[in-house]
Subunit: 416 residues, 2 copies
């Protein structure tokens, strides 16, 4: 096999996800075992996803990785843990077309090249590591012909980034915290697929921020060590919310879904604030976004929109249907208009049909928007929001058979 010139490649696409019942706090830092179950919604990979190409060749002399075109080190424990676990599950591979045969035992001595690309700005704080590690593990598993199912793979992706385990499925996903010391039962399962509740529309407000944020890894470690509220949350509150959220998802009860999603986001941020030193992920713009949704929901007979914030100031807003999403878009653009010299096409991205439903075709339509009925004295805030992304719940990982989408050159195994 040595000296041969072949390169075998696999390309996969994996979605990102946002938790509606939050993960905050590990009981094992190395294995990444959480202190409570969590539930997330997978976001449509058409708008937010990672694409990863993995390649193996006898000509590679070391494992290498490129992230968004730039080479990054694989030396970190999290990458090493994922690579080791996947290699341990590698099987015989036979590629008749290329005349390549790799025996199970060969994988120990073969190196891989990995190229990964996010179709959304990495600096936006949109859980790129979740999609990234899920895609890494999923694509390597396919390359190495590992027989494990996605739930098994999720327990490996978990060791790269906790929330990555939830990106192995579409729809709504539960990360079961598990009990075992070795973490084999700490894995994701799909609760309902993306078609089950397909009325939902998701609008993400990417919030401008000049402040350096606390990384979620060090933040949650500080919370575990210093917050006196976290343990109570993890042991007493979250287990009940998980049961109620599963029920709300099964019955598509948007009122209950909204109540739980908003309360759990706020409680996660409360726990951050109860940490020493305190962690602030939300800023004044985040607060205004919450206030906009709360005012509207309380002015209606039933809630129209749920909000949730991860470890950053961005709002993820989940509207009960397209009609609510169009109304939400109008309100958001009233409160947070683009600068008058801005390009609307770059200010609202993703599924632009929501903008059309809202009757907005240009900056002038935004300037003409009336203040929301429920807040007639509302002020407009320029500069608070960088842009909006319109999307929806989406599917889990897929293999891309179209080789033109590969990020590595099929001859050299280096980035295109």
């Amino acid at each position: 096999m040595a000296g041969e010139k072949w390169v075998r490649m696999v390309t996969a696409q994996t979605p990102t996800n946002i938790a509606v019942i939050k993960y905050w706090g590990k009981r094992d830092e190395n294995l990444i075992l959480p202190v409570n179950d969590s539930i997330s919604v997978t976001l449509d990979p058409a708008h937010l996803c990672t694409t990863t190409t993995v390649a193996v060749s006898p000509s590679f002399d070391q494992d290498r990785m490129w992230l968004n075109g730039k080479e990054v080190s694989l030396a970190g424990a999290r990458y090493q843990n994922c690579l080791r676990e996947i290699r341990a599950r590698a099987c015989d591979v036979e590629d008749e077309e290329k005349g390549v045969k790799i025996a199970k035992k060969d994988w120990e001595n073969l190196h891989v090249h990995i190229a990964s690309y996010n179709n959304f700005p990495t600096a936006a704080g949109l859980a790129s590591s979740a999609a990234g590690f899920a895609c890494l593990v999923f694509s390597l598993a396919k390359l190495m012909n590992a027989k494990e199912d996605n739930s098994d793979l999720s327990a490996i992706a978990r060791q790269g980034s906790g929330s990555a385990c939830r990106s192995l499925f579409g729809g709504f996903v539960k990360w079961i915290m598990g009990e075992a010391k070795d973490g084999h039962d700490s894995r994701a399962v799909q609760l309902v697929d993306e078609k089950h509740w397909d009325e939902l529309v998701i609008i993400i407000a990417v919030v401008s921020s000049r402040q350096k944020e606390t990384s979620s890894t060090s933040g949650m470690q500080d919370s575990v060590n210093t917050s006196l509220l976290l343990e109570h949350r993890a042991k007493e509150i979250v287990p009940k919310r998980i049961v109620r959220m599963e029920e709300a998802l099964k019955t598509k009860d948007f009122g209950s879904f909204t109540e739980l999603t908003c309360a759990d986001s706020n409680q996660f941020h409360a726990t951050c604030l109860d940490t020493s030193p305190p962690i602030f992920y939300m800023n004044d713009t985040s607060h205004r976004l919450i206030s906009c949704v709360e005012k509207w929901n309380r002015s209606e007979a039933t809630p129209q929109v749920a909000y949730t914030f991860d470890a950053g100031p961005n709002a993820v807003l989940i509207a009960r249907n397209r009609k609510a999403a169009a109304q939400l878009m109008q309100k958001l653009l009233f409160y947070f208009p683009p600068n008058s010299d801005a390009d609307l096409d770059n200010y609202v991205i993703g599924d632009k049909s929501i903008l059309k439903d809202a009757g907005i075709e240009g900056i002038k339509d935004i300037e003409a928007l009336p203040p929301p009925q429920e807040n007639k004295d509302a002020l407009r805030h320029k500069d608070g929001v960088s842009y909006f992304i319109c999307t929806r719940p989406g599917r889990g990982p897929v293999l891309l058979s179209d080789t033109t989408q590969a990020l590595l050159n099929p001859q050299t195994g280096l980035p295109k």
Copy 2:
């Protein structure tokens, strides 16, 4: 007695206070009985206090009140509760100079005039109701010759505004939550007087805010009804902190005092965030003030400054001594400089000797300040802070015998 023309008056001055272990949540809305003990520091009335003149005359035909010169209604239950409780404790009064005799039973039929004035901006969110109700009850008790001591009076002031009970004493004060249904044992006691720890210096950053704030009355009611963390805080966490705080005060252990004060402020705001709808009292400027203090404290061998925030964005910063206060002043003026056309005299008010210790005599000295050692890349934020007040722990209520300080005309009993 009827038809007589005399007016009998009493003028008193009462301090405001700021909790270092917070009160948040009532177990009885009408009697204002809290869900946990709290501890506060009384602020020097030279810089923050209420002055109240109360008058009685047979010529008054109804109870009336003026607040900062403007007549206000006394119809609210909180005023009525205080007036009723004090009247029930009125005793015989004999004023030989004026030839006035009021028998205990006469008080039922006599009306009072009340004029109250805060020596600090009322809109600043600096617990004016605490000083106000304490002063109302204290001055009426003296007018009516009630025999109750300040702790007894605190249980009456509590029915006007919970935190008012802690303004009946100087130094550090504990509000004991009590157990009785009628609330007679829910009252304040002095832990140490204002001379016990007189090294402490207090700097208040009055933060600009455009947002309408949730009143603490409705906010804490919402927290009691919806926060799943509040009960745990009140029952499990605060009782232990009270014991530790009392010990820290007794031994003047500034490290422990700071740890407890900051953690409890943050946890109170965490509980607000865990409320539905969530309550945000702190804004981006508040967060920056916390970050300024946390960075400094962590760069020193021992903490230099404690911070605490009430139901608003203002920071109350407690420095361990004058030296630390002068350094703090430099840092604060670096991060939050006045506008260059501002008058420094109005930007730093109260005890201006701190400014002198910091070597700052004019705007140019502020512009020349270097960034803090512990944060050399620090940005300067104009417009975040309205002004600073320098003060210290102070004394409890006093009677003002100088009649020129009275707020009511001694002949007419109407505002001067």
